[in-house]
Symmetry: C2
Subunit: 349 residues, 2 copies
């Protein structure tokens, strides 16, 4: 027994006793206002379609129309709950405009990023949202990106710094809120502040690293390279980094993790080292993932509206698709600090 052949417009037309064009008109709801179909014909066509179980073929439509009604979205790390919010926001926005979303994550494998690039150049998606400036890391990705740009394919970048390039951008920047974090810790008396810098790609959290250094300078505190541990993006990485950090002499009285996932590992490590949070060591994260407020103690963190981020990105992308020649745009989203229990006064030393 073979798979049943899909019914086509032709089949529907035959059954309804009309032409293919008429079926198309009816199915598409008479898109152009200047064509009208008699109610009787309309009903006959609809019934025939129903009876046959006719469903329009998206591939044929895509070929004909030159548009797939699908957008690509690349996030840096699918294991980080923070990015779901962005996916969620993008998803809703895309759906509201009748677009699908193809999700890809860099962490599954570096190749996946490449893959979705190719999706775009193969015309499987009408546009692309790139989150995290990882592209700048790989020569090959750069090359592909360049070609896509030359073809003027719609691309929106979500990143942490404004580029003067000709690109639509959504910028969400932890720079100024990182200043707030550092000032909070400083005002609480902390002078030895560690940084757990766990990233998949080294340019991914510069908006936290740079303010960290600058603030220390502003406070008149010498930068100590031992207080910055560079590691991977998993909880385990944060855990290990903390052991390294607490080995310093003297050890830090506060630890800033560049995201909440790492902070989970940091807090657990401190427990295992017999240190109390925040009595002995204060901890701060970034992103305010859902778990953050259920940790023991609840995690102080800084965050932005990640869902809105995705939403805005899709909006920009759709605008670009609709009007390829408009000037490039940049949307900036603010971040805010959320102080919870994991930060407290520095212990008197």
């Amino acid at each position: 027994m073979q798979r049943l052949k899909r019914p086509t417009q032709e089949d529907v037309a035959r059954l309804a006793g009309v032409s293919r064009a008429t079926v198309s008109y009816v199915i598409n709801g008479l898109a152009r206002g200047n064509i009208s179909i008699s109610e009787k014909t309309r009903r006959r066509v609809l019934e025939a379609a129903e009876q046959l179980g006719y469903v329009p073929d998206a591939t044929a439509r895509a070929l004909r129309l030159g548009t797939t009604k699908a957008l690509g979205l690349i996030i840096p790390d699918i294991r980080n709950p923070h990015f779901w919010e962005t996916v969620d926001g993008a998803w809703r926005e895309a759906r509201a405009s009748g677009y699908h979303l193809l999700l890809s994550s860099m962490d599954l494998s570096a190749e996946y990023g490449r893959e979705i690039f190719e999706e775009l150049s193969h015309r499987r998606v009408d546009g692309l949202i790139l989150m995290g400036s990882f592209i700048e890391q790989s020569d090959e990705a750069q090359k592909i990106l360049l070609r896509l740009r030359k073809q003027r394919l719609p691309i929106v970048e979500i990143s942490d710094h404004l580029r003067d390039d000709h690109v639509d951008q959504v910028v969400s920047d932890y720079r100024s809120v990182t200043h707030e974090v550092m000032e909070l810790l400083f005002s609480l008396g902390h002078r030895r502040i560690g940084l757990v810098y766990g990233v998949a790609r080294s340019d991914l959290a510069l908006d936290r690293l740079e303010p960290y250094r600058k603030c220390l300078e502003g406070f008149g505190i010498a930068f100590d390279e031992h207080l910055v541990v560079q590691c991977g993006p998993t909880i385990e990485d944060g855990y290990r980094a903390t052991f390294a950090l607490m080995n310093c002499d003297p050890p830090p009285t506060a630890i800033v993790a560049i995201n909440d996932l790492l902070a989970i590992g940091v807090m657990r490590a401190l427990v295992d080292l017999g240190r109390s949070v925040p009595r002995d060591v204060s901890v701060v994260g970034f992103d305010d993932i859902p778990q953050a407020r259920y940790l023991v103690p609840r995690l102080t963190t800084a965050t932005k509206d990640a869902s809105l981020l995705g939403q805005k990105a899709v909006q920009l992308l759709l605008k670009r698709i609709a009007v390829p020649d408009r000037p490039y745009e940049c949307v900036v989203l603010p971040a805010r600090l959320i102080v919870r229990e994991s930060t407290g006064p520095a212990p008197r030393g």
Copy 2:
């Protein structure tokens, strides 16, 4: 300035001074062994393609070949880290066979599920993997599914119980490991055991609810409906459920959460209620999400190989696509208990 038109095979053919067919042969690497191209021509074509930046059009290819080289995957809850493992496994397996994966999650909105169903009937994907038997909940989904089945579209279900239906299935069942969980708690002296039953859809965790009841019966413990709290799937739900649970008289000495995400909420709630885990109350979760072993205390949990689950599902699906008429198959994956610090002897009453 308009967007540049994509170069087609025609353009390449013209530049290389050959026919469209020849270009196709070269690009596809002479798929059918019986056609051969002279090395010189081959090189000329490749150079022309490179020079023009020619990239095959996936939509045209899909239309011609009747296959999109894409698979759909529906997971119940993208916010639950447990399911990423499955996505990851499926993704790798699909990729290895040259397939893409379209991800959809029921939690984003119930509509998303429907949406991917439609993707399938519109031929945007060659097959579908359904995770969680949520389909049985919605009449509409049922209807669509039925039609898809009639068209004999390739579908694989990942669920927690064997169905005698004619479907390819991957079954991962927490039933027997839930027995182990209950026996562990019983042997530790627990007699009042609470269940936090937080699911998006009510049939999603029957493989934990049913053994729970049966075990109590086996232990000669009367079932107390107050000890089972039905709630939603978020951490906050688990948190609230625990307050309700600890209001019982007498309160439970152990709480089983049907997944680790809920267990995070449970543990936080117990802290806020001034109870110590595991001294006052033992906690058990399911899934062994990455966070589980970093909680304070580390979480006892039961799990299966979620990545393998996804892998197997894709394998089944691809087999079905290749050979539509093979007999239906079912793969069963085992689960195992991981005992950590969150379980201990029942307090002496």
